[in-house]
């Protein structure tokens, strides 16, 4: 105990180790070639995670990182949009019209269960334009590959602020017009059984 009567603790492993060990953490990545981040639209094609109705799991994003590949940035910033009542079906009359599904990788590399989420880092389209949720605090200026500037890191920690229940989808977008800048995107998140809460 500390001098003020507080319990003194020391972290044993890295954050999220226990969840990763139990196979609850997944890595959702674009292809290494990356993609251009675009404005929210029914034409979609934003990196998107969809927790389908009936999955039995909540999705809790942990972090998002971006790596520059090529092209010119347009001034603006990156944001999250969402699609509520997204159901679980894909089709003309459904909220999600088309979806290119890519299986995420369990962070228990080589082991763990399969993901209950749907992840699309490519073609996806929607009946309605996704709804604005929040800025990620990442501002892009007109830097280009040939600009002599310092290296930079594009990373966002969610800190447990977002829980995505079944029937909702989360989209990574730019808030400005489509840019030619191409980024790899990696989202790391947990899939936890829906808990009973008071």
């Amino acid at each position: 105990m500390g001098n003020s009567g507080e319990l003194i603790v020391q972290a044993l492993n890295g954050r999220y180790y226990e969840q990763a060990l139990r196979g609850n953490v997944f890595i959702y990545s674009t292809a290494a070639a990356g993609l251009a981040l675009i404005v929210a639209a029914i034409t979609g094609n934003h990196p998107s995670i969809w927790n389908p109705t009936g999955s039995g799991y909540n999705f809790i994003p942990i972090s998002m990182t971006l790596g520059y590949v090529s092209g010119n940035n347009a001034p603006g910033s990156l944001a999250l949009f969402y699609t509520a009542n997204a159901g679980s079906a894909i089709g003309t009359a459904a909220p999600v019209v088309t979806w290119t599904n890519v299986a995420p990788v369990n962070a228990l590399i080589g082991g763990g269960r399969a993901s209950a989420m749907k992840w699309s880092p490519a073609i996806s389209t929607y009946t309605a334009v996704p709804t604005w949720l929040c800025t990620l605090g990442i501002s892009l200026f007109t830097g280009v590959a040939a600009t002599a500037t310092t290296p930079f890191q594009l990373r966002y920690d969610f800190d447990g602020t977002v829980v995505l229940p079944p029937g909702n989808a989360l989209h990574l977008t730019s808030i400005q017009a489509t840019t030619t800048a191409v980024f790899t995107v990696t989202i790391i998140g947990m899939e936890l059984p829906i808990p009973p809460t008071a």
Binding site: L7, I8, V9, Q10, A11, L12, N13, R15, Y16, Y17, E18, Q19, A40, N58, I60, I62, N73, P75, G76, S77, L78, A79, Y82, A84, W132, L133, C134, T135, L136, G137, I138, S139, L140, F141, T142, G143, V144, T147, T149, T150, P151, F152, Q153, L154, R155, Y156, D157, D159, G160, T161, V162, V163, P165, N168, I175, Q176, L192, P195, T197, A198
Partner: protein, 219 residues
């Protein structure tokens, strides 16, 4: 709870399987070994107490503190909750060359719960905060509001975020501003406002994540 105390150089026992009696361990300085299972704010989020207060995607022009049209979260008197701001994200949309300045937190006290002539707020156009868990927030949020002069916002704290005369069209590296907030509690009848210390000429989007905690009994 049984705790096995460590001796220097002698590791405490570990690696108990599921379904067995576990013993808590200490490290060599006798601190209890612990692990953060989920993200810092997960428990409040999954209980539906976390809300996201965002400007529209079009953003707002960053102005100096005044009595009108600022990013404002209002915990109205009688709400029964404390508002705990937890995470602040800020990003650019567009604009000309910025005027050098800083992003700051301001507060107002005695803001009551009514809107109208003679009240602290004569105008307050609500924007619904977002939550995926279905609870209705007690705090109110607006970027279109007018405060009676007697209740001018007071400087509360710097966010640590400053800009020089850069502009969104400048060829420079991307910038990340995302910050956890600690040690701020907004009681009923108070507001939290986010504005610049001078008119910055930039249009920005702001998202603030905050927790509504039922008003506790405190000594």
């Amino acid at each position: 709870m049984n705790v096995t105390k460590a001796r220097a150089g002698v590791p405490t026992p570990h690696l108990t399987g599921d379904g067995t009696q576990a013993t808590a361990r200490t490290e060599n300085s006798v601190a209890l070994l612990a692990a953060e299972r989920n993200g810092s704010f997960y428990e409040q989020t999954v209980r539906g107490n976390m809300f996201c207060f965002s400007t529209a995607a079009a953003g707002i022009v960053m102005a100096a503190a005044a009595n009108t049209n600022e990013f404002c979260i209002w915990n109205p008197a009688g709400s029964g909750v404390l508002f705990v701001p937890s995470k602040l994200n800020w990003a650019t949309v567009s604009g000309a060359a910025a005027i050098a300045g800083a992003l700051q937190l301001y507060t107002q006290v005695g803001m009551a719960s009514a809107i109208g002539t003679g009240a602290p707020f004569s105008v307050f156009t609500d924007i619904a905060p977002a939550s995926f868990l279905g609870k209705t927030p007690k705090c109110r949020f607006s970027t279109t509001n007018t405060t009676t002069a007697a209740f001018a916002a007071a400087f509360g704290a710097s966010t640590g975020w400053s800009v020089y005369q850069g502009r969104p069209g400048t060829a420079m590296v991307p910038v990340v501003f995302s910050q956890r907030l600690h040690g701020v509690v907004i009681s009923p009848g108070q507001t939290l406002r986010i504005c610049a210390n001078t008119a910055m000429a930039w249009t920005a989007v702001i998202s603030l994540w905050g927790i509504e905690v039922p008003y506790p009994n405190v000594n």
